[in-house]
């Protein structure tokens, strides 16, 4: 896969997927989708695809192609990536009468997401905001890890080395937890799992997690100080760390 393809997968499956979480935790976002029944299909020529479904006050991303009220077509992964960067527009191919949701509520949702993912520095001093911001970073990192493992050529090589099983990534202070399941060299991020994890990465505080995920802290220092507790099948974590180091190439 090309780097553009991997970046498109991350933009779609890791960045835009945060709208699910956003609509769970952000009151302003909940207000925007209240009572709305819409779905937006992102269809990328020779690239990944997914549908964002807004229903019953919730947002859900699905990769299955079902019916959607709005369908957006992108000529290439580059086209999609430029749209995410605000430098290009999608091509609507279905749902012309519903484009108001796209230009109004959906656009506001993405701005709200940007508010959390790329915050103004002064906001980071607010503990509540920092906790939310870190939560989004953790989600983004987990899903981006999956994309790099499955789409990036080097990431695929690293992923082949990961023993099968589930890795738990959590923040002890906030209770937030996400999971990565490795199976036959593929990696899937998820918010819950019925499979007991084989390895654990546990941040002691939101600050520790936020600092690492924002590249303000060194992972080795966090580990030796036990701000980041590692236990279980360490090869899973070591190889994930190699994949994690490729995230800045794309975000």
């Amino acid at each position: 896969m090309s780097s553009s393809h991997t970046k498109a997968a991350i933009n779609l499956y890791a960045i835009l997927r945060n709208l699910e979480e956003l609509c769970e935790v952000d009151e302003a976002s909940q207000g925007l989708i209240r009572g709305k029944q819409q779905s937006i299909r992102f269809s990328i020529q020779n690239g990944p695809s997914a549908t964002l479904v807004f229903r019953d006050g919730k947002c859900k991303m699905t990769e299955d192609e079902g019916s959607s009220s709005i369908k957006l077509y992108f000529r290439s992964t580059d086209h999609f990536n430029r749209m995410i960067d605000g430098a290009a527009n999608p091509i609507p191919v279905k749902g012309f009468t519903k484009l108001g949701f796209l230009t109004n509520e959906f656009t506001q949702l993405t701005k709200r997401l940007e508010y959390y993912l790329k915050p103004q520095p002064e906001l980071l001093g607010d503990p509540d905001f920092f906790r939310q911001h870190t939560g989004f970073l953790l989600h983004t990192a987990a899903y981006a890890l999956g994309c790099i493992a499955n789409y990036d050529r080097v990431g695929q090589e690293i992923a082949k080395r990961i023993p099968d099983g589930v890795v738990s990534l959590s923040i002890q202070e906030s209770g937030q937890q996400v999971f990565l399941e490795a199976r036959s060299g593929r990696l899937t991020a998820m918010k819950s799992t019925s499979v007991p994890p084989r390895s654990f990465m546990i941040f002691d505080t939101v600050q520790s997690a936020g600092d690492l995920l924002s590249e303000r802290a060194d992972v080795h220092e966090l580990v030796v100080r036990e701000n980041l507790l590692l236990k279980g099948m360490m090869p899973m974590i070591q190889h994930l760390s190699d994949i994690l180091s490729r995230v800045p190439l794309y975000i």
Partner: protein, 433 residues
Amino acid sequence: MTKFDERIRLKEAIMMQTYSYPTSKQLLERALKVIPSGVYGHLGPVEGSMLPPSAFPFYASRANGAYFWDVDGNRFIDYMCAYGPNILGYNDEEVERAANEQAGLGNCVTLPSIKMIEFAELLVDTVHSADWAFFAKNGGDATSFALTIARAETGRKKAIFVKRDYHGVSPWAKLIGNAGVVEEDVSHNLYVDWNDYQALENLVEQHPGEIACLMACPYSHGNYVDNELPAADYWSKVRALCTKHGIVLAIDDVRCGFRLDLAGSDHYYGFKADLICFCKALANGHNVSAICGIQELKGTAASVFYTGSYWFSSVPFAAGIATIQKLKRIDAPKLLREIGQKLTGGLVDVAKSHGFHLNISGELPLWYMRITDDDTQVLHQAWIAACVQRGVFFTNHHNHFLNTALTDEDIAFTLDVADDAFKAVKQLLPQYA
């Protein structure tokens, strides 16, 4: 409640006093300001399988015999042996006397000393496959030289390695995706599973006339997995395959060397390597590595310009001579196997008395152990941590090492610690009680 408080609470319910490491922690904070990760590499808490870090000391103050002491004054029976170099016990009297005598004469001088010749002669007399010896400083120097010699000899680019084998930290010895490694560093590497002769033969036949070198450890002792000995006919078939295809067979004996067999681990498993790399136990902690080879590769080795600022230092040569002579005199491999049998047999019994299964794998002088009752290894990590906190230095996912200074009393103490550590683990992880 802090992690240290938790340990104190735990201590109330068990017999043995557990260690604390306030000075180590202070020094770590100081080091973090000026040293990447405070302690980097294989002696560091992260890469060194020392989890959780709070269970382990970070800095040593001194060492003697089978023990080292940390900066907080805690004594540890050292079953890592500096990750291998300590084979006769720290500060071995004979080795240190030889080193000190040479230091009085000179060490790093414009010309090499006669000790280099004497050491090479001793290795050629000792190591079964050696017709010559060449000295460097680290195991990685030796393995890199072996690969270079093979390429120079054959004019070929590719090399075959066994998955999970460790040959040092040069970029060629790492994997794509490791930090700082570019594809070109490993683009001529081919990998096979250990003990899968057919896969190896297939790989060789897929690359006719392209493979310069097959480099492997004498047996599989990767981290995190049970170690695996060679199948009965594995090495004889590999030897024949390499000979048939003109591939240089290089054995990385850096970790096993002189613990299995003073004549080389290839000799121990009944075959003859073309090149064999030594370091670790070669000079009981003095800084020298060696590569030995067959007569046919001597000229090629001479044609490769390969050197370093301290590679001709004579003190490590003198220490190496004294080490090999003493290892021969006491038949160290036999002694280490006996010690290993007593120790690992005892550990298995202690585990069994608590209802746990401790699997011992690999060769006894550098055994690997793993509690098999828990797929996540969390239980194993907790038990190892509890042993360390009671004065027995194990690590989690690496093979351990024995030295000849260990006594029956040390083993008895180790087994007492193991017993107490299992009691502690049952309190810490009640699901295993």
